[in-house]
């Protein structure tokens, strides 16, 4: 049976479309009067090359068998290969939780400040990562406090104080 690498075909298509989009945008950038080149030249070349190699990848994926048999299934005793090339599990609670927590910290940190947000974030990540409640309760304030001290006092980074000051 003929097998194709549909994931590479899809990614190649995405890159080709992205390259064409970059190319179309770059062609609208005006060049400097009297000069043979302008700020759009390098993006034009980048977009064209991305579209070309995206198409190459799509064709490669169409013509060749998927490499999952080699890459996704780990060799005996080769755990790291399995981890590195495991297919993404976007809908796993862990990945969604990590992404959600990070996004929430971006939104909440300017409002609540680093100390409160960092505490909540650390607590959530410990639980998401399979930690127990008590270690999460003990570790979150310590980690947040230490990192705050190092950056705020050691490196003079003005970490967000938030509305609660």
């Amino acid at each position: 049976m003929k097998t194709r690498n549909y994931q590479d075909v899809a990614l190649g298509g995405i890159f080709a479309a992205g390259g064409l989009l970059i190319l179309s945008q770059a062609l609208t950038i005006h060049s400097m009067p009297g000069l043979p080149v302008g700020p759009g030249l390098f993006p034009t070349l980048t977009g064209a090359a991305m579209a070309f190699f995206g198409a190459v990848l799509a064709v490669q994926g169409w013509l060749t068998a998927p490499d999952e048999d080699i890459a996704l299934l780990p060799e005996e005793g080769s755990r790291e290969t399995a981890i590195l090339y495991a297919p993404p599990k976007f809908f796993s609670p862990f990945v969604l939780g990590i992404l959600g927590s990070t996004l929430a910290s971006i939104v909440l940190m300017p409002v609540l400040g680093f100390l409160v947000t960092g505490l909540l974030f650390t607590f959530a990540v410990v639980l998401l990562s399979g930690g127990k409640l008590l270690p999460a309760l003990i570790f979150s304030p310590i980690a947040t406090g230490v990192i705050y001290a190092v950056f705020a006092y050691g490196f003079r980074v003005p970490l967000p104080r938030g509305l609660v000051g």
């Binding site: 994931q7 590479d8 990614l11 970059i22 950038i29 043979p36 080149v37 302008g38 700020p39 759009g40 030249l41 390098f42 993006p43 980048t46 090359a49 991305m50 190699f53 995206g54 990848l57 490669q60 013509l63 060749t64 068998a65 490499d67 890459a71 790291e80 290969t81 981890i83 090339y85 495991a86 993404p88 796993s92 862990f94 990945v95 990590i98 992404l99 990070t102 996004l103 910290s105 971006i106 940190m109 680093f114 974030f121 650390t122 607590f123 990540v125 410990v126 998401l128 990562s129 399979g130 930690g131 270690p135 999460a136 570790f139 980690a143 190092v150 950056f151 490196f155 980074v157 970490l159």
Partner: protein
């Protein structure tokens, strides 16, 4: 000779030696923290040097930088967060070695290889500084363009996913580097109307997101558990044996690092990628690269520090900094009245020799400090994964925030972390993206300048001898890669 004796007096006094030691410890601490770079460590030290005499001030910068760059290998080895773009070249190997229980060996190779490479770079700097800087000054935008393209090509083509995926990774990095104001006219490109994007996308949040966040998402709660490390008591055990086994790589990496590091704007980042590629291409076991094989680590690690020493050639002799760190150092030299340039060698040679001596001391100090760091760093494997995840992610957020003191950097980290997570699951290499981001402005500036000089005639890029050689080498490498890919595809189809 009198100048050298004077230099000994300038360096071997309590104040300077204390400053060197304290700065090295500071560099070790900052460099070992995930997401913090040698540039950041050096920048943080500058205000402190206001209160120092000239030689201790520059000694602080040199020792801090050297140690921070070497310490950058620690988070790379233990957490897969490279400390510098240069260490991203070999982070897969060092990290996989740690996953196999060889963290001490990987760190030992990094530290001892860096010391040897750094000392080689110092000798090279002493012997060839004037002549080599003069040679590099003869380079024009054509040579710099081809040199950068050659390095980027090597990075893309050696990546594990094949030619098309390597090229796409690189192009993605180059595109990210184009976001913001263009270097020619200062007009906005791909900023989507966002003010925060006008300044471009910094490589630090990109690096943190693509390596650290993606790694945590991938490894997750079921990630690799604590791995028993083979050489816990003596982390450097077996290092000399490995270095002797790959002595050819050590010497070649040091020589190439010294030569490339002396070119302004090139530095250790590109040099490490080129020598890693070279090590893979000339290796008897290229299939082991990226899976925890020490050969590339030895060569690229030696290159890294040899290039670091050599990057001071244009900075010291002509006042032209080769990278961000030497740019800061040149600022400190000017601030202290030690104007970098030919007069530093002719009018005040004792200052030049004093700086050279600081190089030697800083490199030798790496051994005991690196040993302590390697011994203590292995404890990170004994920390429960849940706590480690939380601490690393908080570091990622603070590290990304601290670049511009806005949450926008954290957003960049998050977006690029997701991109890396998806791409890597399809065997795209991430490191060429980072290199594209870092070297993109250099490539574009030199390309645009060259195009203006030749009035848009691309043939002019081959008009100078060295540029022609570099250009031909780049085209041959791509030609061979395309030929190899087509031949492999045809043979695969024939087998089916």
């Amino acid at each position: 000779m009198d100048a050298f004796l004077l230099a000994l007096g300038l360096v071997f006094n309590v104040e300077t030696l204390l400053v060197i030691t304290a700065s090295a410890i500071f560099g070790l601490f900052v460099g070992a923290l995930p997401g913090l770079t040698a540039t950041m460590a050096t920048a943080l030290l500058v205000p402190v040097t206001f209160y120092m005499a000239p030689i201790p001030a520059i000694a602080a910068i040199i020792s801090c930088t050297a140690m921070a760059i070497t310490a950058g290998d620690l988070p790379g080895t233990l957490l897969r967060i490279p400390g510098t773009p240069a260490s991203a070249a070999y982070v897969e190997d060092s990290y996989r070695m740690a996953q196999k229980g060889q963290a001490g060996l990987a760190i030992g190779i990094g530290v001892i290889g860096s010391v040897l490479g750094g000392l080689f770079g110092f000798v090279f700097l002493m012997l060839t500084a004037p002549a080599l800087a003069k040679f590099a000054l003869g380079f024009s935008s054509f040579e710099y363009f081809w040199l950068a393209v050659l390095g980027l090509s090597c990075a893309a083509l050696i990546s594990s996913g094949g030619m098309a995926k390597g090229a796409l990774s690189l192009l993605l990095g180059l595109f990210i580097a184009q976001v913001g104001l263009d270097p020619l006219m200062g007009s906005q490109r791909f900023t989507l109307g966002l003010t925060e994007l006008s300044g471009g996308i910094s490589f630090i949040p990109a690096m943190i997101g693509m390596f650290a966040l993606a790694e945590i998402m991938r490894a997750g709660r079921s990630g690799a558990p604590a791995v028993v490390q083979d050489n816990g008591r003596n982390p450097f055990k077996g290092t000399l044996k490995v270095l002797w086994q790959y002595r050819k790589n050590q010497v070649r990496g040091s020589v190439i690092g010294s030569l490339l590091g002396a070119l302004p704007g090139v530095g250790g980042d590109l040099a490490a990628w080129i020598t890693y590629s070279l090590a893979k291409r000339t290796s008897k076991t290229p299939e082991l690269f990226g899976k925890g094989h020490p050969e590339g680590l030895v060569e690229a690690g030696a290159t890294n520090n040899a290039a670091l020493s050599a990057s001071w050639i244009p900075a010291m002799v002509f006042g032209i900094p080769g990278d961000a760190v030497t740019a800061i150092a040149v600022g400190v030299l000017v601030m202290k009245g030690l104007d970098p340039g030919p007069q530093l060698l002719t009018v005040h040679p004792e200052n030049f020799y004093a700086v050279m001596l600081v190089f030697v001391i800083a490199n030798i100090l790496m051994l005991p400090l690196g040993y302590v760091a390697a011994r203590t760093a292995r404890w990170i494997f004994e920390v429960p994964r849940a706590l480690l995840n939380a601490a690393i992610l908080l570091f990622c957020i603070v590290g990304s925030f601290s670049i511009n003191n806005t949450m926008f950097g954290v957003g960049i980290m998050l977006v690029l972390g997701i991109v890396a997570y998806v791409l890597e699951s399809r065997r795209f290499a991430i490191a060429p993206i980072i290199l594209g981001i870092v070297l993109g402005p250099l490539v574009e500036t030199n390309f645009t300048t060259s195009m203006i000089i030749t009035s848009g005639n691309f043939a002019g890029f081959f008009g100078r001898p060295i540029a022609a050689v570099l250009g031909a080498a780049t085209l041959i490498i791509w030609g061979l890669a395309i030929f190899g890919t087509v031949r492999r595809m045809m043979s695969e189809r024939a087998e089916r």
